[in-house]
C-alpha cells in the first residue's frame, strides 16, 4: 500500500471545496435568496432573454460550424501531405495560447469597416464587426481546436482494413466515407462539439470587442452579468449566472446522452 492517500485526498477535497464548490454554491444561494418573484422578473425581461438566447444560439452555431470544418481539417491533416503541413498543424492550438483580449481586439481590427477582411466584406454588404455575426466569428475562433483535437487521434487509429473491405465489396469512395468512416467518428465529433459549445457559450474576452454590445442586438449573457455587477445588482447577476450554468449543464448532459446512444448504435 502506497503512502499519502489521506494527505493527498484531503488536500484535493479541501482545495476543490474552498476554491470551486463553495463559491459556486454561494452563487446559487444568492440567486435563490433573490426570491421566486425576483428570479421570474429578471428572467422574463426581454433584455435578459435576448442575451441568453444570443449566447446559447451563437455557441450552438459555432459548435456546428466547427463540427464541419473541424472534421475537414482533421481529415486533411491525418490523411494528406502538403507543403507547410507541420507549420499549419502547429497553429491549430493558437486559440488556447493566445489571450482572449488579444484575440478580441485583433478580430475587431480585422473585421472593422477599414480592416483587411471587413473592408472587402462591407463592399459585399456583409457587416461582421459590431453585429451578431461578429460574435459567431469570435466563438468559432475560440472553440476551433476542440473538434480537430478530439477527432485526430480517432482518425489516426482508424484501421484501413474497413475501408479496404468496403472497397472490395464494391462501395464507392463516397459510400465508404458516409457509411463506414463517418459513423465511427460520431462519438468523437460530439465530444469535440460539447467542449466547443461549453467554451463558446461563456466566452467573454474575445467577443466583447467585436460584438458592439448593443442592448437586445449584440449583448451576450456574460456581458449582461458584468453590467449587473457594476450596478451592484447582485441578485440579478446571480440569477442570470445560475440560469446560464443550469442551461449549459443541461445541454452538455444531453450531448452526453446522445453520445452514449451513438456509441451503442454506431
Amino acid at each position: 500500500m502506497l503512502p499519502g492517500f489521506g494527505l493527498s485526498l484531503g488536500f484535493t477535497l479541501s482545495y476543490l471545496s474552498l476554491l470551486v464548490l463553495i463559491p459556486l454554491a454561494a452563487l446559487f444561494l444568492r440567486a435563490a435568496g433573490f426570491g421566486i418573484e425576483g428570479i421570474w422578473h429578471e428572467l422574463a425581461s426581454p433584455r435578459v432573454q435576448h442575451a441568453l438566447m444570443l449566447s446559447f444560439s451563437g455557441a450552438l452555431a459555432a459548435a456546428a460550424i466547427n463540427i464541419v470544418f473541424g472534421a475537414l481539417i482533421a481529415w486533411t491533416f491525418v490523411r494528406y501531405d502538403f507543403p507547410g503541413k507541420k507549420l499549419f498543424h502547429a497553429m491549430i492550438d493558437l486559440p488556447f495560447a493566445l489571450p482572449t483580449a488579444v484575440a478580441g481586439i485583433a478580430l475587431a481590427a480585422l473585421y472593422s469597416e477599414h480592416g483587411w477582411l471587413g473592408a472587402p466584406l462591407a463592399q459585399l454588404g456583409i457587416h461582421v464587426a459590431y453585429t451578431p455575426l461578429g460574435i459567431i466569428v469570435a466563438m468559432v475562433f475560440i472553440s476551433l481546436p476542440f473538434v480537430v483535437r478530439t477527432l485526430e487521434p480517432v482518425l489516426e487509429e482508424f484501421e484501413p482494413q474497413y475501408e479496404e473491405a468496403a472497397a472490395t465489396l464494391g462501395a464507392s469512395r463516397r459510400q465508404t466515407i458516409v457509411r463506414v468512416i463517418l459513423p465511427t467518428l460520431v462519438p468523437a465529433l460530439l465530444t469535440g462539439a460539447a467542449l466547443a459549445f461549453a467554451r463558446a457559450v461563456g466566452e467573454y474576452g474575445s467577443i466583447i470587442f467585436i460584438a458592439g454590445n448593443l442592448q437586445n442586438v449584440s449583448e451576450i449573457a456574460p456581458l449582461l452579468i458584468m453590467i449587473r455587477l457594476d450596478e451592484f445588482n447582485y441578485g440579478c447577476a446571480s440569477t442570470i449566472a445560475a440560469a446560464m450554468l443550469i442551461l449549459s449543464f443541461t445541454i452538455l448532459f444531453a450531448i452526453n446522452l446522445l453520445q452514449a446512444w451513438s456509441r451503442r448504435h454506431g
Binding site: P3, L16, L27, T76, A97, L110, S172, G205
Partner: protein, 284 residues
C-alpha cells in the same frame, strides 16, 4: 477493376486539393490573419512608438502584476494537480468519477461567472464584505481577488493532464521502491517524478498561458485601476478604449501574443519529442 478499387480507397486528386485548399484558407483566415494583425497594428506607427508603449509606467506595472499573479496561481494549481492525480490514480475509493468530473468543472463555467463568485463572497456587498472591511482586508479589487479568480479558471489544467498519465502508469514501480525500503517522499521524487515530468511540464505550460492571459474572470474582480490592479490583458482593454492609445493596445498585445507563440512552440515540441509520455492531447 483495380482502378475502381483504388478510387474507392482514396479521394480523387481534385477533391484532395480542394479539401487542402479549404483547410488552409480556413486556418489562414481564422488563425494566421488575427495573429499577423496584432503585430502589424502594434508596429504601424513605428518602432519608437512601440518602444514607448512598452516602457510606459502603467504598462510595466501591469506586466509585474501579471507575472506576480501567475507566480502564485500556477504553483498552487500544480501542487493541487499532483496531489489530486496521486490520490485518484494510485488509490481506489468511492466517488472517484464524481471527483474527476468536479475537477473539470471550472472549464464549463463562464470566466465572468468564475470571477463573480468571489465578488459575491468577498465584495463590499458580499457575504464576508462587512467583516473584511471591519478588519481592513481587501480581497476584491486587489491582488488576492485577482489571484483567486486566476486560480479558479486555471484550476483543472495540471490535474487533468496528470490523472490519465498516472493512471496508465499504475503503481508497480512505486510498490517495488517501497518494498526495497524507500520512503514515501523518496519514492515520489525518484520513481514517480521522472515518469510524469513531461506531462507535468505540459500541464504547467498550459496553466501558465491561461493564467497570464485570463481576461473575463480577472476583469470582474480587478477594479481596473491603471498602474495598480490592471493585469496585461486588462491594460490592453484600457488602452484600446482610449482612441489615442490604439496602437499601444496592440503593442502590449504583441507581448501577450509572443507569450502565446512561445507556449505553442513548446507545446508542439513536447508533443513531438515526448508525445508518448504525455497522455491526452486534448484541448483547453
Amino acid at each position: 477493376m483495380a482502378r475502381r478499387y483504388r478510387s474507392a480507397l482514396a479521394e480523387p486528386a481534385p477533391v484532395r486539393w480542394l479539401l487542402i485548399a479549404v483547410t488552409l484558407s480556413f486556418l489562414g483566415v481564422f488563425l494566421l490573419l488575427p495573429l499577423i494583425t496584432v503585430f502589424a497594428q502594434a508596429l504601424v506607427q513605428g518602432l519608437a512608438t512601440y518602444a514607448r508603449a512598452l516602457t510606459d509606467d502603467d504598462t510595466l506595472a501591469s506586466i509585474r502584476l501579471t507575472l506576480l499573479t501567475a507566480a502564485i496561481a500556477v504553483p498552487l494549481n500544480t501542487l493541487f494537480g499532483v496531489a489530486a492525480a496521486w490520490a485518484i490514480a494510485k488509490f481506489e475509493f468511492r466517488g472517484k468519477n464524481l471527483l474527476t468530473t468536479l475537477i473539470d468543472l471550472p472549464f464549463s463555467v463562464s470566466p465572468v461567472i468564475s470571477g463573480m463568485v468571489f465578488v459575491l463572497l468577498f465584495g463590499s456587498r458580499g457575504w464576508f464584505g462587512p467583516w473584511l472591511s471591519e478588519h481592513d482586508i481587501k480581497i476584491v479589487f486587489a491582488l488576492p481577488g485577482i489571484v483567486l479568480a486566476t486560480t479558479f479558471v486555471t484550476f483543472p489544467f495540471v490535474a487533468r493532464e496528470l490523472i490519465p498519465l498516472m493512471q496508465a502508469q499504475g503503481t508497480d514501480e512505486e510498490q517495488a521502491a517501497m518494498t526495497l525500503g524507500a520512503g514515501g517522499l523518496r519514492t515520489f521524487w525518484h520513481v514517480t517524478m521522472p515518469n510524469i515530468r513531461w506531462g507535468l511540464f505540459y500541464g504547467v505550460l498550459l496553466c501558465n498561458a491561461r493564467a497570464m492571459g485570463e481576461f473575463g474572470a480577472v476583469s470582474v474582480v480587478s477594479g481596473h485601476i491603471r498602474g495598480m490592479t490592471n493585469t496585461m490583458p486588462l491594460q490592453v482593454e484600457a488602452l484600446y478604449s482610449d482612441p489615442g492609445e490604439y496602437s499601444a493596445a496592440f503593442a502590449v498585445s504583441s507581448l501577450l501574443a509572443l507569450l502565446g507563440f512561445v507556449t505553442l512552440m513548446l507545446k508542439n515540441f513536447l508533443e513531438w519529442r515526448h508525445g508518448d509520455e504525455l497522455t491526452a492531447l486534448r484541448g483547453h
